[in-house]
């Protein structure tokens, strides 16, 4: 059974359709990226899963049931929706203690999670003095308090420096390795592409695709990049052979569509034209992500 099941979820705020007939699942033991541009409906979906907003139609289930029906929600789900969701006048430790008390957890657990997120030295400082990265760590600590089976983190990499990103990646991969289902949202694919095992991409509230990162770039045919000191001559030959060629302003390179690498190499060899570089242009995840979500846009 999937740890998270979103089934034909629709959420409407007045005239605004925030989530539109969205369905996907999240499995245990994996980090799943929940991707989409700002305003795509990611946060609304997470809030529906956490019982904070009511679906207009459809279902958002955690461990097969609505969040409100979970017997022990803190041990089932740990959530971090916004790193700013903390009273600035409270210390990091004080903030976590209020949550631990509500969850029936001992104060020793607070110190454990503070240690896990490496915030122990700053635990007694008031949160208003925390950097964004420290607030993100505190939010993650709050999510980890109940040692939950499922983690839902909304934009956890927001505002993290490269060191913080690496730390986040390592801890999330570690947590998923323990068998937890980890769902992290982001509007910037590069923030999470080294962390996630699979992705759910949405745009304008609708599912664009669900699968692995490889699935994300599959089917996106990219042109060949060719570099040659006799690029003009080769271009004429390729066009005569039916390929379409685009130059990028550099005298020795071109981008070739509708011709395989083998065809280009064979043609060049037949005419004694030296080739310095012959490769498919790499389809970046970012390109694919923008293409997928851009088609739907995010304004409704």
């Amino acid at each position: 059974m999937a740890e998270i099941t979103v089934e034909r979820l629709t959420k409407r705020y007045g005239e605004t359709l925030a989530v539109d007939d969205l369905s996907f699942t999240v499995q245990a033991g994996r980090v799943t990226g929940f991707l989409g541009p700002n305003g795509a409906g990611k946060s609304t979906t997470l809030r529906a899963l956490l019982g904070l907003v009511r679906p207009t139609s459809g279902r958002a289930l955690v461990m097969g049931r609505p969040f409100a029906e979970l017997k022990d929600p803190v041990r089932a789900v740990g959530a971090a929706l916004d790193a700013h969701d903390v009273h600035p006048g409270r210390s990091g430790r004080g903030h976590l203690r209020t949550i631990a008390a509500a969850a029936g957890l001992p104060n020793s657990r607070v110190d454990e999670v503070l240690d896990m997120v490496e915030l122990t030295p700053a635990r007694d400082r008031r949160v208003k003095g925390y950097s964004m990265g420290m607030r993100q760590r505190l939010a993650l600590a709050a999510a980890l308090l109940g040692d939950p089976r499922i983690l839902m983190l909304d934009e956890p990499a927001n505002g993290l420096d490269p060191q913080g990103m690496r730390w986040l990646r390592d801890i999330l991969v570690h947590l998923a390795g323990e068998g937890r289902a980890v769902l992290i949202s982001s509007h910037v694919l590069s923030e999470v592409e080294q962390t996630v095992d699979s992705v759910v991409v949405i745009g304008a509230g609708r599912l664009v695709m669900q699968g692995t990162l490889a699935d994300l770039v599959k089917g996106d045919r990219r042109p060949a990049l060719v570099r040659s000191p006799r690029a003009d001559e080769l271009r004429d030959l390729l066009e005569a052979a039916g390929a379409s060629v685009r130059t990028d302003g550099r005298a020795d390179s071109m981008h070739v569509h509708h011709a395989s690498l083998e065809d280009i190499g064979t043609l060049a060899a037949a005419h004694g034209i030296p080739i310095f570089e012959l490769t498919h242009e790499v389809a970046t995840l970012e390109d694919r992500f923008l293409k997928l979500t851009g088609e739907r846009g995010n304004v409704r």
Binding site: G51, A68, P73, G89, R90, S91, T98
Partner: protein, 241 residues
């Protein structure tokens, strides 16, 4: 009990709580102490001790604000998200806030009475200013119960309105305009307004046409009850967006 402990920790873990509590006790208490120590003895003998105990009525406004912060801080600082994820049965959270509001109201009332009476009444006694003991008891009971109800009123109104600024402004209007409402809409209706009910509860001799002390207290308690129920129902039904 879990929600109760959490709400108590939320209250005591921020400086604002202690500042407001100190202001509640000290501002009126020090004012009364200075009046008792420096005022003309003849004027003090002629004055009404009830008004002396009530002072400028700032104590109830400050305690109301403390109660309002108990509820509205959740939405002002976004902690409502984690609060209601950890405790999905939201009415429990509001109930816990009301219990904590009651407790801090009682603590504030006791501190107020101890500080106010301990200093100012002993100074009056040392200056041979006799006071009517019945009026003193009535005055402190009225102010003390008013502090408890004021705090509960703040918690409950905050749960209904959620917006911190709006809640405090509404409370300020209700309590600072107390005594003037009847001038505009007549005594029959005006005496049942929250501010007027508070004045009746405090047995304020400076305002006429008020309910009796007991009825004033019951009316104010009625407002707290209605707002508390409304706050619980609305919090359960509304979305946390």
């Amino acid at each position: 009990m879990r929600a109760l402990k959490s709400e108590w920790l939320k209250l005591v873990s921020v400086r604002t709580t202690w500042t407001l509590l100190a202001a509640t006790v000290l501002i009126e208490g020090l004012g009364a102490t200075l009046s008792a120590a420096l005022g003309d003895v003849e004027d003090l003998r002629k004055g009404d001790v009830s008004a002396f105990i009530i002072g400028l009525r700032l104590q109830t406004v400050l305690m109301f604000t403390l109660g309002a912060l108990l509820s509205t801080n959740e939405f002002r600082h976004g902690t409502a998200n984690s609060t209601f994820v950890v405790t999905p049965k939201r009415e429990r959270v509001i109930l816990a806030k009301l219990v904590v509001g009651f407790a801090v109201g009682v603590a504030g009332a006791l501190l107020y009475i101890a500080f106010h009476a301990g200093l100012s009444l002993s100074i009056l006694a040392s200056r041979d200013v006799a006071v009517d003991s019945d009026l003193v008891v009535n005055g402190y009971v009225g102010v003390g119960v008013g502090l408890v109800l004021g705090c509960l009123f703040g918690v409950a109104l905050g749960a209904v309105l959620r917006n911190q600024v709006l809640t405090i402004v509404v409370g300020l209007v209700l309590f600072t305009l107390a005594g003037t409402v009847s001038l505009f809409i007549g005594t029959d209706v005006g005496q049942f307004f929250p501010g007027e009910a508070l004045l009746a509860l405090q047995n304020d001799p400076r305002v006429e046409d008020l309910l009796s002390q007991t009825v004033g207290g019951l009316v104010l308690a009625g407002y707290c009850l209605v707002l508390a129920v409304a706050g619980m129902v609305l919090t359960r039904q509304r979305e946390i967006a």
